[in-house]
Structures are given as structure tokens and as C-alpha cells.
Amino acid sequence: MFEIFTRLADWLVYHLADLSADTRMGQALHFFVEDTVKIFVLLVVMIYLIALLRASLNVERVRDFLAGKHRGAGYLMGAGFGAVTPFCSCSSIPVFLGFTSAGIPVGITMAFLLTSPLINEVAVLLLLSLLGWKFTVVYILVGMTVGIAGGFFLDAIKAERWLQSFAAKALQQGRQNRPAGAAAAATLSMAERHQFARDETLEIFGRVWKWVIIGVGLGAALHGFVPDGWIETHLGDGQWWTVPAAVVVGIPLYSNATGVIPVMESLITNGLPIGTTLAFCMSTVAASFPEFILLKQVMQWRLLALLFVMLLCAFTLIGWIFNFLFPVL
């Protein structure tokens, strides 16, 4: 089904630009053209279709749904909604406070916020088209697990002790009087759904296209210019220390899932073990310094440091487990 994009790239690069398929430049450019065009087309089509379906889902409804849920189910649903709810990272602080002041435990809120950048329709789509369904399923399961386990852990150690005082007070009040009025499920006409889906497509596409170009560009550079076998020889055995090293490098780097997935593809096809790749990529996506600075508004340093260490351990563990269990996936 995706062959058409290969042919298009063949024609553009080898025919029109007259580059040889044997040169590094030719290979890199071919990879770049094929992947960007494919990703752009898929993005537009799929974002539109998915937006049609979820036009009536928003963070307010998720909050009302999660408020008053039993904890056990809460983590699972928090992470699940994190994956499917449209949500811009610039709203993470208002969402955090909105959930908190509805009395939702910090762990469930964090399950939502941790899963949200890792899994979304754009990420899933890219994974499917670049790395296949098996890898996609693994990625989704791992992402959900990080959210659920992370949330559970934060509540287990009573992380709410280390919120900034106004946020802690909001949580306290929210527990006592749950806001009664549930946001009414809007019934939308098909025309309204179309309108929403069109806006959503333009908006998401407008936000992610640069990332696709950067990500695919980096991937192409890896493909074309890192000598074949270099990664495999040096990092291919999944030596234990490579995983924490990848996470430590990945956390301060910031990318969203859209930018990092083409790089993942390139790293994997170049022979980097799957665990190391997952550890590196998930840590770039889930954690970044700008986000930690934002979170400082609602959390004390101690909780931030804890969150940082928790993610570091989680991604390292994931890397080790996958390197150990799935030498070849």
C-alpha cells in the first residue's frame, strides 16, 4: 500500500534529480523524500478521520469522568485517556490544576500527563507506517505501563506532600466538595464534526510538520552518513551501560514523538538494540527541561527531582528488559 511513495521517491531522486542509488547522497535523499511525503499524506488523512470520531472528547469531560473513580481503575483510565485525548503540552499546567482541584489524586493526573506526550494518534500512525504493527503494539503497551506504574508509584509515596501549597490546598478542597455539574456531552452534528476535524487537522499539521522534517532529516542523515555497521559494531550488543547512557542523553534533549519516531526507525535498522532505542526515544519525548520548569509552578523541587529519577529508572529498566527479552523483534 505504501509502495506508491517508494516509486515517487525513485522517480524524483533517481530520475528527476538524477542521483545514483549507489551514492550516500542519493540514498539519504531517497529516504528523506519517501518518508516525508508518506508521513505528510498519512497525517492529513488520519488526523482528520480520528478528529471526526473524537470531536466530543475534551479534558473537561475526562476530568469529570475520572473524578470519583476508584484508584485502581483510575490509573488505567488516566493513562488511557492520556493517550486519546487531544491536548497541547502548553496546557499541561492548567490541566494538572484542573484535575487536582477536582480532587483527582496526583498519581492519576500524572498517569494522564505522562502518557499524553508518549502516545497519540500521530505517534501511532508514524510507528505503524515506519516500524510495523508489532513494534507499535509494544510501544503502546510500554507507554501505558510507564504512565500507570508512574502514577501508582507517585501515590504510593504520597507525592501530594510535595505540591506547591496552593495546589495542595486545591486538592484538599476538591476532595471535600466534588464539583457536581458534569460537563454535558455535546451532541454534534456532522457539519460541526467536520468543522472540528478540519481545524484540528490544520492545527496539528501546522504544529508537527517541522518536526517530521527534522526527524526524517536526522533519520536520513543516519541512514546515509553513519557508516554501515558502525552502530551495530559499537552499540549492537546492548551492553548494560548503553541503556542508562541513552536515557541520560535523551532526557535533556527535547523532541515530540513526531520528530523522534523517524529517528527510531533509522536507529533500529542501523542495528541499535530495541531496548536502547526505546529508552532513548521515550526519554526525549516524555521528559524535558522546559517541561520541568513549567511543572515547578505546581510542584516543589523535591517532587520534581523525584519525578526525574523515577523516569530515569523507568526508561532504563524498559531498555534493559527489552534488550534482554527481544534481541530481535
Partner: protein, 78 residues
């Protein structure tokens, strides 16, 4: 005289929202003060979770996106 607040943590969309409202207010000749509110505690007090949000005379009228010209015009003229 309308007292308009744009709530948001300083993202580009919030700036654009404020600019749009100021521009339309000038064009329509409506007297209004437009103020950007970035304090998370204030945003929380309005119960807003998706920014940018617009508050006119202490009433929340919009949340979650840059409003359209038509919407802003309607608020200004009401």
C-alpha cells in the same frame, strides 16, 4: 467599557488571541482593556484547563483555542 482578560501561560496562541481582540476592538470602536493573565493560580480560579481562554467582565466566554473573528465581534458588540 469592557474588561477583557486572556488567560494562558504565555504561549503564542495566547498572544495571538490578545492581539486579535485588541485589533477588532479598535476597528469596531469598542472601548475595552485587554489584559494577559499568566498566573496559574488565577487561571485555576476560573476553572480553565485549556488555554487560551477569554474572560469578559469576569465571565468566562471561551476556552481552548484562538477564537474566530466572528466570535470576538459578537462578544465585543454584545
Amino acid at each position: 467599557m469592557k474588561n477583557i482578560k486572556v488567560l494562558g501561560s504565555g504561549c503564542t496562541k495566547c498572544t495571538k488571541t490578545a492581539e486579535l481582540i485588541e485589533k477588532l476592538a479598535r476597528e469596531l470602536g469598542v472601548e475595552a482593556t485587554v489584559q494577559k493573565e499568566t498566573d496559574v493560580q488565577v487561571i485555576m480560579a476560573y476553572g480553565v484547563m485549556r488555554t487560551p481562554a477569554v474572560v469578559i467582565d469576569e465571565e468566562l466566554v471561551h476556552s481552548g483555542s484562538i477564537p474566530t473573528q466572528t466570535e470576538v465581534t459578537a462578544w465585543l458588540q454584545s
